[in-house]
Amino acid sequence: MIKVRSLVAALAGVLVATLAHADITIGVSLPLTGPTSALGIPCKNGIMLWPSTVAGEKLNVIILDDATDPTTGVKNARRFVTEDKVDLILGSAATPIAIAMSDVATEAQTVQLALSPIVLPEGKGAWSFRLPQSTAVMAIPIVEYWKKTGVKTFGYLGYSDAYGESWLKDITALAEKAGIKPVAVERFGRADTSVTGQALKLVAANPDAILIGASGSGAAMPHKGLVERGYAKTKIFQTHGAASLDLIRVGGKDVEGSFVSTGPALVAGLLPDSNPSKALGMKYVADYEKAYGAHSANQFGAHVFDAYVVLQRIVPEALKKGKPGTKEFRTALKDALETVGRIPVSQGVLNYTPTDHFGFTPDTGVLVTVANGDWKLAPVK
């Protein structure tokens, strides 16, 4: 009975809300199945924790699965803009799909908040904004650390896909500027059964540090492979794609003392109070782990958390210029994103401008090490 009554109340609330002003509708496309479901599922978990309103308006969220397939992603995006008349598109969490969806967003003049640091050619993606940090931003703390500790050469072992490629490009550019040379570059695939060949070659080149460009638990196999071939684990670095407890779970003692470049959210508790992300990050971790169990927090849930923080900031601005569901409102959302200035989120500080849709400031990344099966801030040398 109570359920029925609250349902009636909710329906009445919806009715009143629709009479007063239209709901804000958000279309979300995520890879809930397929090879990148490890990214999509935590994103969906994060959305489930969103409040039901934003800036006093009811929030209407439509979540669709894109099955890690760009064609499906584009179909979802088209459905969002034509049938559902969404005010904003969120997703996808997988790079190739988010790239494909950005064309629809531009065409329909609807803001896309991508959950992947997509790289688009010049002149494209006027309506696409990224929530995760670009690889270029996340490479900064690694290279800074290398500079401080006197690293002169580095090796790279990364996925033979877009993620591995973009890390290689950004770390090489940044490191060479600091006079650090790449001496061995090797690739592997997530489903490979061994990296013995690559590890032999990397260890033989004996670089001062090795960066592994992989994500999730897939980053553990090459890590163990290098350690098995006798490479010092304190000289191995991992990217933010691997910054989840899955790396520690699968890697075990072989990842102890290794380094990971991560956004602030997961290590918020370790940060100094002056860090603008500390409070938000701790709130995210507490909320997420309350709902999904201890040690379940991850960077993907954090990006979705940040999406809501961004909405809280830009929706009031946009409401001044138009009603949800109208073209004016959608344009106002884009203008607000580009002009509202610095937005502290759990993963750093966003500062979108008309020319920079990546947003994150260079001091976003945090270098952590693994100590006793948990994260610790990397010692400052």
Partner: protein
């Protein structure tokens, strides 16, 4: 490259080759007996490794529920077919109960054993008991009715089964990977070469499996029945061999070999719910070496694939998969030149 690097790469290649060999043999076996090109072979590898991983965590793996659901479905279908043929309901019920007995016992055992933190070896046996019956059930539900269809139809069914099993794998095991504990942590050094206990186990079990398979075909009645079915289905049927029974047996063997390979490979790499596919495909490339007919050629092909992969990842890691899978073209060319084109589709 010096001798020590070459020997390390060779060891690595032969180790992986041993795994591919058992998969290649299973693929050849299934094709010979049922003419099914069994693409989902790799899924059994992933199921084996990940079922053990979940047991290690003290959780009841979803594969158990799959086993129970498939067994129920098969029992219901069998019972309906039997009733339609006019068999007395009492006998139908008894045979249904017989068919369900093993899956129910395995389920109950898993339910009880999962939180007990049993020794690794017992958990491995339990894993084999869960995954092996999936083979005959998959055959019963997906292929048996189509046993006389063309190879192409059976191949399309295989693709469907592959997608279904991969999708279920995601539901059962989640998107993140697992790495199982090593069976034997010992290390043996000989110069630059380090032989881990796990590698030794992989070799021993693979060799034992191959010898076991050979003995099974040479010495046992059921093995001979399988060979007879492979040579001539109609002839075997006339001699009183049940071809559908042979099909189920061959699928049972292939699921067993897949799950065992999964247990072997689980401690050496991170397994994901979809890792099995690529591993199975490499077994398939190896099986092509034997023209999907010759066991020794398939085993040699598997070792070659393993070595090629290992040396390929040393010289050109970005092109490793390209090298392995491009290999299929010259092999097919060579085989078709050697044997001429045969259009023997029934």
């Amino acid at each position: 490259m010096d001798f020590s690097i070459a020997s390390i790469l060779m060891l690595d290649g032969v180790t992986n080759g041993a795994i591919y060999a058992s998969l290649a043999l299973a693929i050849v076996l299934v094709f010979a007996v049922t003419r099914v090109i069994f693409i989902p072979q790799g899924e059994f590898v992933a199921y084996g490794a990940l079922t053990l991983a979940l047991l290690q965590l003290g959780r009841v793996p979803g594969t158990v529920w799959l086993l129970l659901a498939l067994a129920l479905l098969a029992a219901v279908l069998d019972a309906l077919a039997a009733l339609r043929r006019g068999l007395p309901p009492g006998r139908v019920a008894v045979s249904a109960a017989k068919a369900l007995a093993v899956p129910v016992v395995v389920t109950a055992l898993t339910w009880w054993a999962a939180p007990q933190n049993l020794p690794l070896l017992l958990q491995c046996l339990l894993t084999l008991a869960i995954v092996t019956p999936l083979g005959p059930l998959v055959y019963r539900l997906a292929y048996e009715k189509l046993a006389d269809a063309t190879v192409l139809v059976l191949l399309i069914v295989s693709v469907g089964v592959h997608f279904a099993l991969t999708g279920l794998g995601l539901v059962f095991f989640g998107a993140e990977g697992f790495r199982n504990p090593s069976f034997w942590d010992a290390r043996f050094s000989a110069g630059a070469l380090t032989l881990s206990g796990q590698t030794v186990i992989i070799f021993m079990v693979s060799i034992a499996m191959i010898i076991g398979l050979a003995l099974f075909f040479e010495r046992t009645l059921r093995g001979k029945a399988l060979r007879a079915t492979a040579v001539n289905r109609l002839g075997a049927r006339l001699m009183g061999i049940s071809t559908s029974g042979a099909g189920r047996l061959s699928f049972g063997l292939t699921a067993f070999m897949g799950a065992l390979s999964g247990l072997l490979i689980g401690p050496t790499t991170t397994m994901f719910y979809d890792s099995g596919f690529l591993i199975g495909l490499k077994g398939f490339v190896a099986a092509i070496f034997g023209g999907l007919a010759s066991y020794p050629a398939a085993a040699v092909g598997a070792l070659f694939v393993g070595l090629l992969e290992s040396f390929g990842s040393f010289y050109a890691s970005a092109f490793k998969e390209v090298i392995v899978f491009t290999l299929i073209i010259p092999v097919l060319l060579w085989r078709s030149i050697q044997h001429g084109t045969q259009d023997d589709e029934e």
